[in-house]
Symmetry: C3
Subunit: 187 residues, 3 copies
Amino acid sequence: MIQNGIHSILKNNPVIPVATINNAGDIDNQIKKIQSAGIKCIEVTLRTDFALEALRILKSQNIPDFSVGVGTVIHPDQINKVKDIGVDFIVSPGLTPKLAQHLKQADIAFIPGVSTVSDIMKGLEEGFTFFKFFPANLFGGINALKTYGQLFPQVTFCPTGGISEQTFKDYLEEPNIISVGGSWMLK
Amino acid sequence: MIQNGIHSILKNNPVIPVATINNAGDIDNQIKKIQSAGIKCIEVTLRTDFALEALRILKSQNIPDFSVGVGTVIHPDQINKVKDIGVDFIVSPGLTPKLAQHLKQADIAFIPGVSTVSDIMKGLEEGFTFFKFFPANLFGGINALKTYGQLFPQVTFCPTGGISEQTFKDYLEEPNIISVGGSWMLK
Amino acid sequence: MIQNGIHSILKNNPVIPVATINNAGDIDNQIKKIQSAGIKCIEVTLRTDFALEALRILKSQNIPDFSVGVGTVIHPDQINKVKDIGVDFIVSPGLTPKLAQHLKQADIAFIPGVSTVSDIMKGLEEGFTFFKFFPANLFGGINALKTYGQLFPQVTFCPTGGISEQTFKDYLEEPNIISVGGSWMLK
């Protein structure tokens, strides 16, 4: 089944902390904040030189019932690298035909990003039904997802981008929103 | 000619009522509202299990000078189904290369959806010049269509999404807007 | 190198005047305004019948240290025409796989347009790293480019669309914005 595995990860984690980690010290600090918020996953963005090492450390810690994901995956080469590390899920900010092909072959839970109706339709043609909606606040926010819910009842979204401690619960009340991504709990 | 037929349908119908029909009772109710508003077409969305049956009933009624269209068409299979029913036009919320290919082969009036400049450029490469701009209110509204009018003088738009009884006339004053879609007249 | 040449043009021109020229009289008028603003380039949009002739005249004037570009390029045929005229750079409002292919083969400085994350990712797969962000004000403005800067540190933007004398300096303060396009100095 395509996108096998991402459903349970999102279902178990209504909030996905998106973390940018620059050094080993950041890891303990962020994990502490995440766990004290009762959250059981992390999405480490591939935006720093230290990100892959951070993922290795996090996986080696074997935190019980904790999912370690990777974000900002935009290139097929990155998929192989993070798969070797054993990450639990992959998040992409957008989608291209090439990336879709590699994600499907990777045998790892993943969620690709979409911004527009045509993005969603292209993803559906690839067999995907779970999408990151990004950047949520700049592409219509909750109103867009209400509209997309009418068009695509089979699609489940994880909006990310500009979502805050004040607004995330409103998003989660929508029936087609399973989780939200954000960094407010890491501040 | 590609998109043959959609021009006259849009030209004759500056307002396209977008209807979600759940049962036979809805049909009479909606048609009454549409006709009392002086409108001569309906776009039935494929968002309910009853939608195809609603289209069959509507076509069998043979309402004089009345066009029966179908909306939310996102999959090639749907094109064949609604073509067999004899619908007068097809509306898609977005566009993919695959859907474009099937729409061109279907020999039926259609209008595909676009949200961005690249969407429009891809549609132009397919030979399309009539586009649904959707969701209009979330992607720049009238301001976007003013900008796109400067870039693409050969393109005609039917904006849909968040357009109301208060705003639809402003849209129709733009030279590159031939019709607007909405549901305000069905309330 | 792909996109060879566009870097120096953008670096030398933090402001790109986007001009729509209808006749020979327009040219002198616009060039005077541009030069009195201390700007050393012009982007002539292909939105008028006179545009190609305007480009020919501008190139024949051989204004010292002045770059003559062409905008609103959406079709491969246009690339050959403006290349024959000897324009210094090409600007496209969006991107398609077909246009990307022809731009890469044209051996001329160019910058394609993007609106969304997936647009940027498709451009990166083509080997592009300089993008026009358009229409900037309708797709998140500076906030979008701050977000895209975190995702794509290798990408440099020239936002255009709704940027004014009041706002262009704010855009130029962002590290991933090299230039802005606009028409306020031509008013």
